[in-house]
């Protein structure tokens, strides 16, 4: 078994083990062991990647290719570069943190962990696929468990939110399907056979007419899950109704599928289409950045604040990708990672606050710093990271993005960049407002005086998210180098 396929088989085996779990305790232990193994594999992969890269100069390493459906030239084809390695590590960490945070899940725990693992299979598979068909399969596998996860274990208008999220994401993947078929049937321009393989398609140039038609379909298909304005509306409803661990996984990992897919499939395979359409999507992305930030100001529900903040931050990822230069791309990947850890941390904290106070309404909370200092302190740190304070990952990412964006010197790009930059100020407003109202000030409710202490499992889960944020912020260079190296093939395509 090769090192990458393990990312599929280990969760599958964990699921099988879970099926035989007899008790609640048992189910939790199995899920914990399974996700610890995943994390160990991801860390091992990083080291293996560096070792391999020292000798192997290929675009993708650890590649493996098995013919699946011969007549359509569909392969199970996998491989990783620096970008996907980083995202795999992110995924495994968020999954483990999610298991820690949902330790106390009591309703149908077995089913909960199984759905969570199915979701993680989808995400892992998506990041390692080099074949469009396989990638699409994993994409849909990642989306569908969300329906059950939100619908069964969620809160509030959960049935509505679950249905809306599933239909919008599956609708997007349906559009994506047309885009993928379009790419497939134009992949033989070089004279070779039709193929779904990303690396092979990148070698041929798809006719311009086809690129112009299928780029927007593919882009939108992926960008919906990356919360591109105006297709972001599933995200606030979905996140606020989902249980904590699911919000973490969804905002932290699943939404990254959008940016990754846009970059790896839509832009990499159809560069001319990207150049042709970039103005349109830059407008949408820039508007999403500022709109998400302003919408977050108006919200009073903590989860809604964070969900709109995600719309804003991920809008920035798409914006940076469309800047079509190395610095901005580097920033986009860093922002994906940074946002993944940050937002998962936020949702974990919100979940913990909600569990203790039974409300997520900012107006009803106050003075939490005095009663639950650990949670509150981490919330402040996460908030500062989110608004881009130097020393945290958010700063590194946004700095790269805006430096990259300012490399364009015509008026359109300048205006779009200035609009996006101004969102940082708005971000500061909504973060500091929440910190001020919720954490500082007088204690508004006497019941809050004796809130439950933070458990060790919760602390572990939190540290798992917090450490990378600081690590990337303080020492970004090794990660940057890994990403920059992997950006080479993209630069070749576009320059």
């Amino acid at each position: 078994m090769d090192i990458l396929s393990l990312f599929i088989t280990v969760p599958v085996l964990t699921i099988v083990a879970l099926l035989f779990a007899k008790s609640l305790r048992h189910a939790r232990q199995v899920a914990l062991v399974g996700s610890v193994i995943q994390l160990a594999m991801a860390i091992n992969l990083v080291f293996a990647y560096f070792r391999e890269k020292a000798t192997n100069d290929a675009i993708m390493v650890f590649t493996k290719d098995i013919v699946w459906f011969e007549s359509f030239n569909i392969h199970y084809s996998i491989g990783v570069d620096g970008i996907s390695v980083a995202l795999l590590v992110l995924t495994s960490m968020v999954v483990l943190a999610g298991v820690f945070i949902s330790w106390r899940m009591e309703e149908l725990p077995k089913e909960f962990f199984i759905s969570l693992l199915v979701l993680s299979i989808g995400v892992y598979g998506f990041f390692i696929s080099l074949d469009l068909f396989t990638m699409f399969v994993f994409f849909e596998i990642a989306v569908i468990p969300m329906y059950l996860l939100i619908g069964i274990w969620g809160s509030g208008p959960k049935e509505f939110a679950a249905m809306k999220l599933t239909l919008m994401l599956m609708g997007a993947s349906a559009i994506l399907l047309v885009g993928i078929l379009g790419i497939y049937f134009n992949s033989n321009t070089g004279g070779g056979p039709l193929t779904f393989n990303i690396l092979e398609i990148a070698q041929v140039s798809i006719p311009f007419e086809a690129q112009r038609l299928f780029f927007p379909l593919t882009f939108i298909g992926f960008a919906v899950i990356g919360a591109l304005f105006p297709f972001h509306t599933w995200s606030p409803d979905g996140h606020s109704s989902a249980p904590t661990a699911v919000s973490m996984l969804h905002a932290g990992v699943l939404m990254k599928l959008g940016g990754y897919g846009v970059f790896r499939v839509a832009m990499y395979l159809m560069p001319e289409g990207a150049a042709e359409w970039s103005w349109f999507f830059i407008i949408l992305a820039a508007f999403g950045v500022i709109y998400g930030a302003f919408a977050a100001i108006k919200q009073t529900d903590l989860k809604y604040i964070n969900a709109y903040s995600s719309v804003s931050h991920l809008g920035l990822v798409l914006f940076a990708l469309l800047m079509l230069n190395k610095t901005a791309w580097n920033g986009a990947i860093l922002q994906s990672l940074s946002h993944g850890f940050m937002t998962a941390l936020f949702f974990a904290l919100i979940g913990m606050i909600y569990e203790r106070t039974h409300t997520r309404d900012v107006r009803k909370l106050g003075g939490l710093l005095k009663v639950i200092p650990f949670i509150s302190a981490v919330y402040v740190i996460a908030g500062l990271a989110s608004l881009g304070l130097p020393g945290f990952s958010g700063f590194v990412a946004e700095m790269n993005i805006f430096v990259g964006a300012f490399e364009h010197d015509d008026r359109f790009y300048r205006i779009a960049t200035i609009v996006s930059v101004s969102a940082i100020v708005v971000t500061a407003v909504y973060i500091l407002r929440v910190v001020g109202i919720m954490l500082m000030g007088p204690i508004k409710n006497e019941q809050y005086l004796n809130l439950e202490k933070v458990t060790w499992f919760e602390k572990l889960g939190i540290l798992l998210m917090l450490l990378p944020i600081i690590a990337i912020g303080v020492a970004p260079l090794w990660l940057s180098n890994m990403i920059l190296e992997s950006l080479q093939p993209f630069i070749q395509v576009f320059m």
Partner: protein, 461 residues
């Protein structure tokens, strides 16, 4: 090939004199299972009656697919037969009617000329009409029988009219001869249209779908499932043969026609399914919508299109029968068949709910279950011929259909109910059938040699 049919007839004959109640079911199922298994290994190819009746490897495959479907239907029907049918001593007739209808399907797919095809249509439909009215005590059942026989009679009349026009222009009823001498005269086109309309009744394409929901709702569930998979499957197969070989020269003429029917069928089937409260009606409209997807493969008109259609029908048989099987298991034990009654089912009957969920996901086309692969390949076939807009409409419909499939999942998993259907144990035959269906749903997609085999045969066609 003939051996198989002889055995089949023999099986039917054997039952007639016997009157022992329960053992009859076991015997019938056993014999039929043997027959199905033999169909896998002993295949002859050739022609009979001067080319009226022919078999190729592909046609053998059709028959095997139909056999599997009928076997599953029979297995699922056992509880119902024990409960309702045997009491009135009508078990033998049930099997004889069902098997003779299946024989009709054999004639239909093996037909080498229009006469044999017409014979097949009649023989396959008439027994089913009797079966639809099998629950004498229920008025809706009789209504279903009447409706089915009227619409079937009309359909076969129209088909016959179409055949006569084609005979009038070409002077032959043999498929081989017609395909070489076919010209696009007005009369031929009219014949083509009428014949497609007649088959459209059986596949329940819009606008020939009006009987479907009522008949499914009224007739016994095993007959509804028989109609929705076996009867539909056979009609799709013969439509494939006709359009791909006989009317191949007229492809530019039948493509727009199929295009419009496909769009109408997908949209109407899906939109009507949205509002259904009864599981049987719900599955009826869902099966109409599925037929619309099948047309996407037919319109491609290529061997790939043919392979994807056959593959999809095979998957559809397993998925749809899994869904019908669960509905039937619940109906026989509790008599409940409304979607609302399914609320909280997962907490009382987790296994049944999981089977139904897998089946619905397969029908909706969600990986990793087989339905996804079936649909993806259908879309690939259509897109390969440049029908991107049709594929787009198709994927829009996939999303619509996902909504109503999720409604059932919602009832089973998300809702809690005070008076959920209590835990019960189905008969062992039903459980075997459901296990087979689930295996099919899981394996057919991921295990690629199945598709490759079908593709090989289609290329040879």
């Amino acid at each position: 090939m003939l051996l198989a049919i002889a055995l089949f007839l023999l099986a039917a004959e054997v039952f007639v004199p016997k009157n022992k109640k329960e053992s009859l079911i076991h015997l019938a199922i056993l014999l039929f299972a043997v027959h199905t298994l033999l169909g896998f290994f002993f295949n002859e190819t050739g022609e009979l009656f001067g080319g009226m009746f022919r078999t190729t490897e592909l046609i053998d495959l059709f028959k095997t697919i139909l056999n599997i479907a009928v076997l599953l239907v029979l297995l699922q029907a056992t509880d119902w037969i024990k409960d309702k049918v045997l009491r009135d001593n009508r078990g033998v007739e049930f099997f004889v009617l069902l098997f003779s209808s299946l024989l009709g399907m054999y004639f239909l797919v093996s037909a080498g000329d229009f006469l044999m095809m017409y014979l097949g249509i009649e023989l396959s439909t008439l027994p089913v009409a009797a079966l639809a009215a099998y629950e004498i005590a229920k008025r809706t059942s009789s209504e279903a029988g009447i409706k089915l026989i009227f619409s079937a009679a009309l359909a076969s009349g129209i088909t016959l009219f179409g055949i006569s026009m084609i005979y009038a222009t070409n002077g032959s009823i043999f498929f081989n001869e017609i395909s070489t001498s076919l010209e696009a005269s007005n009369l031929t086109i009219l014949g083509l249209v009428l014949m497609t309309a007649g088959l459209g009744f059986k596949i329940s394409l819009v606008p020939f779908h009006f009987w479907t929901a009522d008949v499914y709702e009224g007739s016994p569930i095993s007959i509804a499932s028989y109609l929705s998979v076996v009867s539909k499957g056979a009609a799709v197969f013969i439509l494939l043969i006709l359009l791909f070989s006989v009317f191949n020269p007229l492809m530019e003429i039948w493509r727009p026609m199929i295009y419009i029917i496909a769009v109408a069928t997908m949209f109407l089937g899906n939109l009507f399914a949205l509002r259904q409260q009864n599981m049987k009606r719900f599955l009826a409209f869902s099966s109409i919508a599925q037929a619309g997807f099948i047309l996407l493969g037919i319109i491609a008109g290529t061997p790939t299109g043919m392979a994807t259609v056959i593959y999809f029908v095979l998957i559809y048989i397993f998925s749809n029968l899994a869904a019908f099987g669960v509905v039937q298991a619940i109906d026989v034990k509790t008599g409940k068949e409304r979607i609302n009654d399914y609320e909280g089912l997962y907490r009382t009957n987790p296994k049944l709910s999981l089977v139904l969920m897998l089946a619905l996901f397969s029908l909706a086309g969600i990986p990793p279950v087989a339905g996804f692969f079936g649909k993806f390949f259908l879309f690939t076939a259509a897109a390969g011929e440049g029908f991107y807009f049709l594929v787009f409409l198709g994927v829009v419909n996939v999303t619509i259909s996902l909504y109503y499939y999720l409604l059932v999942v919602r009832a089973m998993f998300l809702r809690k109910s005070e008076n959920a259907i209590p835990y019960f144990k189905s008969g062992s035959y039903i459980r075997i059938a459901l296990v087979l269906c689930v295996l099919g749903i899981l394996a057919l997609g991921i295990y690629s040699p199945v598709y490759e085999y079908i593709n090989e045969l289609s290329l040879a066609f």
